[in-house]
Amino acid sequence: MAVVSLTQMQQGKSGKIIEIQGGRDLTTRLEALGLRPGVQIEKIGSQFIRGPVMVRIGRTQVAIGFKMAGKVLVEERDE
């Protein structure tokens, strides 16, 4: 099982968030939409040229800016 950031993660893969590398500001902002360690997350896709990453957490779809997404580390599930 590989640990990757949301930006490195492959489209269509899912996994579990294990760490958010940032200060309290970032973690509270992400947590508001349910992104926090321990949560299952699926990468739906991403936009061109370092654009936002689209993910699904539970039944919520969220778009996350590239830099922010780079700070979310996920343990990718092997399929």
Partner: protein, 580 residues
């Protein structure tokens, strides 16, 4: 007489895009704008409802994910909490875990509350079952399934408002998500997976390979449809009305007034070859009403009809994601698409919409971009009417140049202003089929709002223009402004009047250009200059309120200097091209 008791205050609180505004309209009968994207409501709105013979105040609060605000709109929500007597916590029942996060925080605030499980119809559709009784027992407050659009559950909600209680759910702060997990586990069960096909189609509109071509197609269709409906209404309805019914009436009035004199000039203006020319007569009852109702209003209607349709469908957040990469380089993020689109209807609405933005820097960039490079629909309608006579070439030049300027101005500000662009972080709501009645209601509110906002300024503009002409002030000002207007921009000095009136309203200012028989390059330059040089009175007032005096001065400096430069460059370039 004893002092009247203060009315009970009911707050509608919840995450963004859970339907609070539809709730509000239902409870209070006051209609507010509701859409399918997070952040429609940026200010609170108050309304009254009757509850057991008493007047109760209902307050629509901007949506918030947490009680720790990240934008001015969310700050409003958190401040309001101290004022409420009862909170109706509106939840998106299809998304229980995320919504319960705010609910649990509210439990700790000690305000009596009632929970509305909204989008109940959609939960059933998606195969989600929620044990409402169990949820009620755990949270210790009444929970009522609702569907705000159809009104399902509202009688029960209102009947149970008096049972509002402070939530009894106990937990440690660090344990909140754990607690939410437990609750959801207990009350929710899934009966079947939701439709995969619809979801796949929805994903096509957000994945870049398919999403960008689709977005371009949609934008193209939007503009074509707006133009089609706008022109259709003008040609088949409004023109007919003005020419065949209104003109004879005004001619009679002209006779009664003796065909001349100050009152005649102000109300009717000049007769051209003994006839009313609605474009050039320039009286309050002729050009004034004609511009507002026969040229601008059809486009405003058409624009808001299409915008409201797009808003309610849930497409805008997807467009926001697709445009994020570009907007990021302009110092904004994808979320700015929403205020920018609103600004195309009316800059005032767009500038108010920037309250969903997190930083001052972003709001400054967005408001200046709106004020300088986003023409409002009233002006667009007039420009289409005037420049469009020379074919699509002129229009492409005007709007193409404005688009390029928008990009350049954003790039420059992003480069020069300290700080960096914020990152997008946006929930993508599911697509929803717009509800016809709600949609028409929204278009209606916006039309009424436009008529109220625009009419006084428009008539004042026509009146002032008349006075300025009558007393020869325009000629005097024309002389003063000639070095810029003629020297740099290459326009006849008499057009200075239009730039003066443009400080009140842009649409009437464009109308003032009609009699001068301008060449195509001159029309293009004057349309662009009128967009950029300074905002109309209503936008200016809003800018001062939102930016403060100091930033307004900065913004004004950017406006004026960029207009002089751009107008001058265009004059050089266009004359080179057109004179070869």
């Amino acid at each position: 007489m004893s002092k009247k008791e203060k009315p009970l205050k009911i707050l509608l609180m919840g995450n963004p895009n859970v339907g609070k505004s539809v709730f509000f309209s239902r409870l209070s009968g006051v209609h507010v704008i509701a859409s399918n994207y997070p952040g429609t409501t940026v200010e609170f709105t108050k309304g009254l409802m009757h509850l057991e013979g008493k007047d109760v105040e209902v307050i629509d609060v901007p949506g918030t994910y947490t009680l720790e605000p990240v934008s001015p709109a969310e700050e409003v929500a958190c401040q309001m909490l101290n004022e409420g007597d009862i909170v109706i916590n509106v939840l998106d029942a299809t998304n229980l875990p995320r919504n319960l996060n705010l609910t649990l925080s509210l439990c700790k605030e000690g305000v009596p509350m009632v929970i509305a499980l909204n989008f109940w119809d959609e939960t059933k559709h998606k195969g989600i079952e929620i044990d409402v009784k169990r949820l009620e027992a755990i949270l210790g407050v009444p929970c009522i399934p609702t569907c705000a659009i159809t009104g399902e559950g509202f009688n029960e909600l209102i009947a149970r408002l008096k049972e509002a209680k402070v939530g009894s759910c106990e937990y440690e702060d660090q344990e909140r998500w754990h607690k939410i997990g437990e609750i959801v586990e207990e009350v929710e069960s899934l009966t079947h997976r939701h439709h995969r096909l619809g979801e796949r189609l929805a994903e096509l509109t957000i994945n870049p390979w398919s999403g960008i071509p689709i977005a371009l197609l949609i934008l193209f269709l939007i503009f074509k449809t707006i133009q089609f409906i706008g022109e259709g209404l003008i040609g088949h309805l409004f023109n007919l009305f003005f020419e065949s019914l209104w003109a004879p009436f005004i001619l009679r009035l002209s006779e009664i007034l003796g065909g001349g004199g100050l009152l005649h000039d102000i109300l009717i203006g000049r007769l051209i070859e003994g006839k009313i020319d609605f474009e050039q007569s320039f009286g309050l009852l002729t050009t004034g009403l004609f511009v507002e109702f026969a040229v601008v209003l059809p486009y405003i209607f058409s624009f808001y009809l299409i915008l409201s349709l797009i808003e309610d469908s849930g497409y805008l957040p997807r467009l926001a994601v697709l445009m994020d990469t570009l907007l990021h380089r302009l110092g904004l993020h994808g979320g700015a698409v929403i205020p920018l689109m609103l600004g195309m209807g009316c800059n005032v609405a767009g500038i108010l919409g920037t309250r969903i933005m997190e930083t001052k820097r972003e709001r400054f960039i967005a408001t200046t971009l709106l004020a300088i490079t986003v023409p409002c629909m009233a002006q667009i309608a007039m420009v289409v009417g005037l420049v469009g006579r020379y074919g699509s070439m002129g229009l492409s030049l005007v709007f193409g140049t404005i688009f390029v300027l928008w990009v350049i101005l954003g790039l420059l500000q992003n480069r020069l202003l300290p700080g960096e662009s914020m990152e997008i972080f946006l929930e993508i709501p599911p697509y929803r089929i717009p509800h016809l009645r709600g949609l028409l209601k929204k278009v209606w509110i916006r039309l009424i709002w436009f008529i109220k906002e625009a009419t006084p300024w428009l008539l004042a503009g026509v009146l002032l223009a008349n006075i300025l002409y009558t007393f020869g002030i325009i000629d005097y000002l024309g002389g003063l402004a000639a070095p810029i207007v003629s020297g740099i921009w290459g326009l006849p000095p008499e057009t200075s009047g239009a730039f003066l009136i443009g400080l009140l309203r842009k649409d009437i200012a464009v109308g003032m250009l009609i009699p001068f028989d301008l060449t195509l390059p001159q029309l293009v330059i004057s349309s662009i200059v009128l967009t950029m040089y300074f905002p109309c009175a209503a936008t200016f007032a809003t800018l001062i309120k939102e930016l403060g005096i100091l930033d307004m001065i900065k913004a004004a400096f950017i406006m004026i200097s960029s207009t002089i430069v751009v107008g001058g460059l265009l004059n050089l370039i266009l004359n080179l091209i057109f004179h070869i």
